[in-house]
Amino acid sequence: MPDTLRHYLFIAVPLLVVLAVLPSVYNNHLLLFNFVIFFILAQGVNIIYGFTGYLPFGYVGFFGAGAYGFALMVMHLNSPAPVAVLAGGLVAVVLGLILTPLLRLAGAYFSIANLAAALAVLHLIANPALESITKGPYGVALNGTFNPTWAYAGAVLILALTLGIVVYLKNSSFGLALQAVREDSFSASMSGVNVVKMRTIAWLASALVAGLAGGVFAWYVSVFYPDNVFSADFSIFAIVFALFGGVATICGPLIGVIILYGIYNLIGFTTPQYFQLIYGLLIMGLVLFLPAGLVSLATRRGWNVP
């Protein structure tokens, strides 16, 4: 059996099945939904950071753009929810295309420019001058499409797609070429790799899944403000979860979400600053002691972690 299939069957499928079954035995559906969203976002960060080395501090920009893509389709075109979710993904891809020049920037410059881009999109959408289109800072309320059950199913479907992308990257020469670009872009081009095209594709794939996640999030919650869907917490959490588990693997980001988002919910939303303290310390500890994430505990011993 080829690795691609094996990885999908033994990692992705069990996770998806568990997520599909859980709502019927566990009552806190919002929590389950948020888990799915963070699985998608952490893997989205994995696609762009793990495989190409660009750390997207403004990753939430795609998520928010997707959410507003959904909202605009529903508000102005009365579009059915699934179509609006796809439109959300498309909006994120378009935003990704506009931001493609940022990939010319290296390291920290890219990250900060990306953060600035996300904030620019937020301030654009939240601008009172655009109230007639986006409802500005007053937020949107989409009553017609409210259907948490289907929205949850949609989220699981998007996760299935996202995992498919990651499994492909992990096992294909395309994914290998991306990692080569991450390690040294000139050596990669001297291996015949079209560096600009490759990283643009990864960037847009990463934008797509975040945009779809944003769309399905808008579908699920139906009422939200710009500050909700552009909250820096989405970027931060997704990055921390992915880093914590270990990027450029399939399992790493999933493990990261399960452990850290699990802890987050145990500590509770009432005292977010304690969680902030813990994850801040976790990031510092990771960088100083375990820069390749939890999975490196295993890979260091010579175990192969997919």
């Binding site: 080395g53 750390l55 020049p101 940022l102 990939l103 010319r104 920037l105 290296a106 390291g107 920290a108 410059y109 890219f110 990250s111 900060i112 420019a113 953060l115 600035a116 881009a117 904030l119 620019a120 301030h123 654009l124 601008n127 009172p128 001058a129 872009s185 820096a232 931060i236 880093l243 600053q273 304690y274 902030q276 303290l277 994850y279 801040g280 310390l281 976790l282 990031i283 510092m284 990771l286 960088v287 100083l288 820069p291």
Partner: protein, 306 residues
């Protein structure tokens, strides 16, 4: 037109002070200190403490904040940096590390002080000097607005701008008139060669880090007056703003920051005056545009570009 220009210059000088510490640290260590804004925020708390707890002029906070955070910077340097430098990609890892650190600072500050907005009455700043002011400029010993070209500006703006000029002057003296400063410039312009010639880079870097944090905290003392109020969450915005100022004036060239600050201050005030609903977008759009179009800043050498 004259009012926004003068206000822009006053704010701009202050913005130079906001950014200069970030640039000094970057210039010497090639590290983007993502916790920079959080040290500003802590500086604001120093001013608040001096005023509310001790009942003193917040200006007294300037030397206190500088000394306190200089020492903190030195300690932090010796704890964190040696470990980082053994890593394979110290630039990116330090970026993530300081991001974690920024989260820790924000969380701890929130836990200790809560999330409420704090402010200090504007007239309290430098009120201990109003006697001096009366002696120089005549008039009564009050702390009312300043008259410049017949327009009146809050005294706190003028005080902040003045202290900023003095502080930047001190940085200039340090870099060009002291031995350690000369070594610092050597490390900034040719790091590898400086190491090869046996300059104690650790000592130079530790000093730059201490001074950088000290300057950030000094800028923070004026933050309550320049931005109206502050919260523990104010750090990240301050970091982005600092980055804009620094990139405008050229990364790695601390004195270029003065120009960057003034350009930013003036354009900020002009947009605020004539296009106020779009003013929030300015720093982000400016940052992205500068990074893409002129990555070396308005005056300056090359930035590493992928």
């Amino acid at each position: 037109m004259l009012y926004p220009l003068i206000a822009g210059v006053l704010f701009g000088l202050y913005f130079s002070l906001v950014g200069i510490g970030l640039n000094l640290v970057f210039g010497v260590m090639r590290i983007v200190n993502l916790a920079h804004g959080d040290f500003l925020m802590l500086g604001a708390f120093v001013a608040f403490g001096v005023y509310t707890a001790a009942g003193l002029d917040p200006l007294v906070g300037v030397p206190i904040a500088f000394a306190l955070f200089c020492v903190a910077g030195l300690l932090l340097y010796w704890i964190l940096v040696p470990r980082l430098q053994r890593a394979r990609d110290p630039e990116m890892l330090s970026f993530i590390l300081f991001f974690g650190f920024s989260q820790v600072i924000e969380a701890l500050t929130t836990i200790v002080f809560g999330t409420s907005e704090r402010s200090i009455p504007s007239r309290e700043l430098a009120n201990s000097l109003s006697g001096v002011r009366a002696a120089i400029f005549g008039g009564e010993a009050t702390n009312g607005p300043f008259q410049i070209f017949g327009l009146s500006f809050p005294a706190s703006w003028v005080v902040a701008a003045t202290v900023s000029v003095i502080a930047i002057g001190c940085v200039y003296l340090y870099l060009y008139r002291t031995r350690l400063g000369t070594l610092t410039r050597a490390v900034m312009s040719r790091r590898e060669e400086a190491i090869a010639t046996g300059i104690n880079v650790d000592r130079v870097s530790a000093a730059a880090f201490g001074i950088g944090l000290g300057l950030a905290a000094v800028a923070g003392v004026f933050a309550p007056f320049m931005f109206g109020s502050f919260t523990p969450a104010f750090g990240i915005d301050a970091t982005v703003t600092s980055f804009v100022v620094v990139v405008l004036g050229s990364l790695g060239n601390p004195l270029g920051t003065a120009l960057g600050g003034v350009v930013y201050g003036v354009s900020y005030m002009l947009v605020q005056t004539y296009l106020s609903s779009w003013a929030d977008l300015l720093p982000y759009v400016l940052l992205i545009a500068i990074l893409l179009l002129r990555p070396s800043g308005l005056l300056g050498r090359r930035v590493r570009v992928a």
